[in-house]
Each structure stands twice: as structure tokens, then as C-alpha cells.
Symmetry: C2
Subunit: 377 residues, 2 copies
């Protein structure tokens, strides 16, 4: 029998956050928050979007899972949550079951936090019709705040995830040869990501030559040529946690232009990583990055320079001009430093850093990234 303590995330902290929020209960709706609380991933919640999976929790008593009947057996086996109320697809609406659960909890006039960026407006309308006295407010920040500080097990998973993806990517670059296509690189990368321990591949933006100038292009039939820059921004799901590694290689010897861009990008990268310390905020890091890019004469048109990560690809805190969250030990952030010219060329590096009481620790340290990786052409 699993208990709350078996969950990967820190549900004790999550529960306290709910209790302190003033909500009578919150409803988790998004795949990441349903996964975080239940410790089980219901894949059809993503693949068949109308198959809502919802968790009602007041942070203290046992949570209630509202679930499509077809998933009940699996969830009973995998989750610590035992109060499961099912609906039959196309027959009973999950919103009707949710309303019943709220009534059973005596909350038909309660103050309820719901993820309103995720829950479709039509579903909220149906809930309002069933329970007109319900007082609903958004609770995105509550979940984001609880999940910002990673538990030791989450940090271990994420470190393993990034290092696994790094190794997969390094081996894929090293196997690249002129005449191979971007898709050939993608086959090798995907296979290696899975073999490194991911349960599935999240994204494989691996490109060469002129295509490296785009941030998120699908690998194409473009054939690699000697002298091409190779660039990847890629990740997998490891126990449902994202990895997100950015690296650059070259098919052939580096030239002065490569070295000049890379050297300046590295300098900025190290400086920003070094600022990931308790007391600093993402806004300050972004402002520093803006100054550093100016100093090094590198365009910096981006909305962020790195991001929290976990069950979602972009989590808080963000290295953005709008994030004043102060870093605390146990947070994890990527730092990504890049320059690109669409249809011409791009250079990219992205690492995972753990915030500690002292100096920040780079957790994506499988791959020596001080120079662009050179691959024999």
C-alpha cells in the first residue's frame, strides 16, 4: 500500500501550501499537477484531452481522484490515492462527478482554487451551472510555488535525466557524418535518450547548417555537409520529469568566427550561472544577461535566459525581467545562452543548475562544453 510519503515530490509541502492558501480545497486539472499529487501519470489525459483527470484536495484529508473509468485499474495499482470516483466517457461528465465530490465535502458554497489557465472555459461554465454558489479562483501560482523547490528525489531524477540526455546527444554528435540527414541524427538521438532511461522522448530539435538558425525546427531531410554547425535543443521524460539540454558541435575544424561567438557566449553563460544563488532573483539575472550581451555585441531579443523545469518544461522561477522570485536552495534552473540568424546559423548551450546554500552546482556536467564539440567531417 503506497502512502503520500512514497510520492516523488514533497506533498507535505504541497499540502501545507494548500492549507495556508485560504482555499477550502483546490482542484488539480493539468497533467503535471495531477501527476505531482497522485504520483501517477495518466497518459490518456494528454492523448485524449477531453478525458479529464481531476484531483480535489484540501491539503489535509485524503484527496479525491475524478477519473475516466477506463483508467481506474491502473491508477489503483500505481497511486497512493484511494478515493477514486470514476465517470464513464460520453455518459457521465467529469464535471458532474466533480460537483458531486464538492457537495460530498460540504463545499458547494466553498472557496475553491482551480487551474483556470488549463480548465477549458466550457467546463468551468458547466461547473458554475451545477454549483452557482461556488466561489472559484485561479490557483496556478499555488501549484507553481509548491513545485518550485524540488525534493531530493526530484533533484536526483532531474540530474539523471539531464546527464542521460547529454550523453545521448554527445554520442549522436560524435556519430554524425557528411551525407547523413538531420532525421538520421534524430533516429540515433531518440534511441539513445530512451536507452538512457527516459520513458519517452519529449522533443528532438536537432539540426545542421542553415537550419541551426531556427530555435525549434523539426529535423528534416537536409544532408549534413563538412563545415556545418550541428545544434540540438532536446529532451526526454524521465519518471515524467523533463530534461532539456542544448549543445552545439561542428562537422570539421572550428574557425575564428566559431571561436569568437562561442567564447563570448560561454563568458555570459558562466556569469549568469554564477548568479544562481539564494537571494538573487530571475529579474536580476536577466538584467545582467542583457548588459553582458550588449558588452559582447551579441543580439539578445529573447523573453528569458533560462527557466525552472520539472514536470513542465518551463516552470518558475524564470530568468526573465518579470520574475522577482528569490532563489532558494533546492530550486533547479536551466541557463540557456544562444545566438542565431534564421536560415543561416545558430549556436546554443543549455544546462541544468541546482541552487544550493553556497555556489550553484551544474548538474548537466557529462559533456565538456567549453569549446564547440568537434566531429570529424
Amino acid at each position: 500500500m503506497k502512502t503520500m510519503l512514497d510520492a516523488v515530490g514533497d506533498l507535505d509541502r504541497m499540502g501545507r501550501t494548500i492549507v495556508e492558501s485560504g482555499f477550502d480545497a483546490v482542484v488539480a486539472v493539468s497533467p503535471e499537477n495531477v501527476n505531482y499529487i497522485s504520483d501517477v501519470f495518466v497518459s490518456t489525459q494528454v492523448d485524449i484531452r477531453d478525458r479529464l483527470a481531476l484531483i480535489v484536495w484540501d491539503g489535509q484529508r485524503a484527496p479525491t481522484f475524478v477519473l475516466c473509468a477506463v483508467e481506474e485499474g491502473y491508477v489503483r495499482q500505481e497511486s497512493w490515492i484511494t478515493d477514486i470516483r470514476t465517470y464513464k466517457e460520453f455518459v457521465t461528465s467529469p464535471i458532474t462527478v466533480l460537483a458531486d465530490v464538492l457537495c460530498d465535502l460540504g463545499l458547494e458554497q466553498g472557496r475553491i482554487g482551480i487551474e483556470l489557465d488549463y480548465l477549458g472555459a466550457g467546463y468551468l461554465g458547466a461547473l458554475n451551472n451545477l454549483l452557482p454558489a461556488l466561489d472559484v479562483a485561479r490557483c496556478e501560482n499555488l501549484f507553481a510555488t509548491a513545485r518550485m523547490i524540488k525534493s531530493p528525489r526530484e533533484r536526483e531524477i532531474m540530474t539523471r535525466a539531464f546527464r542521460g540526455t547529454e550523453q545521448a546527444l554527445m554520442e549522436t554528435f560524435q556519430a554524425a557524418r557528411p551525407g547523413m540527414t538531420e532525421r538520421d541524427m534524430c533516429f540515433g538521438l531518440s534511441d539513445r535518450i530512451l536507452r538512457s532511461g527516459a520513458e519517452s522522448v519529449a522533443f528532438t530539435h536537432i539540426n545542421a547548417g542553415p537550419n541551426t538558425g531556427f530555435p525549434h525546427m523539426d529535423p528534416s531531410g537536409y544532408e549534413l555537409r563538412p563545415g556545418d554547425i550541428l545544434k540540438a535543443d532536446t529532451g526526454g521524460y524521465y519518471s515524467r520529469y523533463y530534461s532539456n539540454v542544448g549543445r552545439t558541435a561542428k562537422l570539421g575544424a572550428l574557425n575564428d568566427v566559431d571561436r569568437s561567438w562561442w567564447g563570448r557566449l560561454r563568458e555570459i553563460h558562466h556569469a549568469i550561472i554564477d548568479m544562481l544563488r539564494p537571494g538573487n532573483a530571475g529579474r536580476e539575472l536577466f538584467e545582467a544577461a542583457t548588459r553582458l550581451h550588449e558588452k559582447h555585441d551579441i543580439p539578445f531579443p529573447y523573453a528569458h535566459n533560462g527557466h525552472g523545469i520539472g514536470l513542465q518544461l518551463h516552470e518558475f522561477p524564470l530568468i526573465s525581467p518579470h520574475d522577482d522570485t528569490v532563489y532558494e536552495p533546492g530550486m533547479m534552473s536551466t541557463v540557456e545562452t544562444r545566438v542565431r540568424w534564421p536560415g543561416e546559423v545558430g549556436y546554443h548551450m543549455e544546462d541544468l543548475i541546482e541552487i544550493t546554500d553556497g555556489a550553484p552546482v551544474v548538474r548537466s556536467d557529462y559533456f565538456d562544453n567549453e569549446e564547440i564539440l568537434v566531429v570529424d567531417a
Copy 2:
């Protein structure tokens, strides 16, 4: 320069559907409908959910794409839509840009269809605040109806997709050996799905022995044993269209129990496939399936017995007791027939069928499925 005619789907039909709907314009919000209209897949719309991508279209004039600035270069290269309005993440809200677009079109008091199951309730609230006189209604059915009939190019992509996945699955089963794990099978299956032409793997529920009793279990470390049933429900994305193939194999010789279940399931399967003809509706197929399962003494607790498929895994029409849509030539549907006992064993078959003027045509015909595939133990 691409035009609307280059799109994979039948945008002429889509445009007419919008014009006939009575809406002044519709707003596509979900990844599948944005992809259908624009003919480009914006991957971050899925991976970073708050990065909304929206298309405003009245069905006649040029559509307007509301897009995160970081994706503009790629979309300008890939899509036929040229009226692109960008927002900067965390600085400008996509909803503010949407409101501006609607005002520019003179529609601040217009009747607008929006995908309200997808658009988060919080975003709709923001739009209502900006344009209080806007008359918004859901338009899910409009998109679903337009997309139900597949264009010849869509049918070609989907046939290639299913056959590619079938071949990947058959080769994976044939390579299975005692001592391999479910994850080992998953590595091979994923690689083969990619090499068959998918741009990415969608899901790989490939299991053995007792785990075949679950519908959607992630492949585990379970080690295959002689005599195990092997079962997969798997798919990839091919030009963004889903494949979804179900097959069953056995590690070793079939016994009478296997043959009995499979023979009865096959009989039901063929009978339901044969009903996929113009004039019939999903409800009638489901009712027939209910009777057939009773006749053959097979439990039938499911909400559907097959589904439309395309840019989404489950599309209309559904083989469900609640779908009265009459089949028309050019529609594509899966038929899935199965029985399972959680934690013990399960058998599953799922095929793609094209509805024509005459007899239905099975498009997933790479794999002879009349008997359970036998793999040497």
C-alpha cells in the same frame, strides 16, 4: 509562396463550414485546429502550454495568426498564412493581441466561435474584460465536422502512418525473446516507428504477460517469459497525423484458450468493420458490438469500439452509443476489439478503415492478424 491549396487538409471545405456556421469568425486555439488551418505545427504550443497560438478566420478572407514572437521565423517559412501578429512572452498577452485583431476586423461586437473546451477559462475571462460586447460561443463541432472527411492527401498520410507503425510493431514482436524487458521492446518499437517515417513517437503501450491486462501501461522492466502474451497499442505522428495500431502476439505456441478468445474477437471485429458503410451511424455499430460481445460471452464494458482519427487521436465519428453521425465516403475510423483482465492477460486488435462508396477498406493491412502472431520463445 505557399497557398491555401498546398495545405494537407481540405481548407476549402473548412472555410465553407465557417461561412455556413453563422459566426462572423472563428478562433482556432487547440494544436490540432491551428495545425489544420495553418498547415504548420508549432511544437512549443504543446510543450509550453501558455505560449498560445491562435488563428482568427472568417472562412473567406486571409486568416490572421496570433503567435509568440520566437516562432515567427519558422511559421513564415512553413505556413501559407502571411498575416502574422506576434506577442512577446511575459510582456504582451496573446489575448490582448487577439482582441486587437478582432477590433481591426470590426468584430468587437461580433459573434465569434472559439474552442471553449481548450481555451482556459482564465483566458476567456481576459477576453471578456477587453471586449465585453463580444458574443462568444463554442465551435468545437464546427472544426470536428470539417475535419471528419479526410482529403485524399490526409488519407494517403494516414494509410502510410498505420502501415508504417504496423511494420514497426510486427518486427518488434518478431524480435522479442524471453528475458527481454518490456522496455527493450519499447526501444526497438520506437526506433522502428521513427524509421518508418514518423517525425515522433506518440505512445508505446507495449506489454507482456500480466501487464497486458491493462489498457495503457507504460512499458516496464518486466522480463518476458515463454508463454507470455505480448500486446501493444501504439502510434506515431506522421506529418502530424496519428497512427494507432493494436496487435497481439504470443511468445510460444498458441493454446486453445488463446484461439478461442481470438477467434471470437476476430468474428466481432470483421462484423463491425463490415458495417462501416455510408448510411450507418456509430451508434448502430456500437449496439451491434454489444450484441455480438453478448453472443460470444465476452465482457464489453467500454465506452466506444473505435474512433475517428487524424490530427487528434480520437476524432468524430465515434463508434459509441451517443454518436448518430452517418458515415460518408472519405471518413476514416479505427475499429478496436479487445478483452482484458487487469494484472492477468489481455488481447487487443485495432485497425484503420476507410469508408468508401462501396465496401469498407482496411488500410492497416501490412500485418496478417487472423491469428495471434506466434513468436519463437
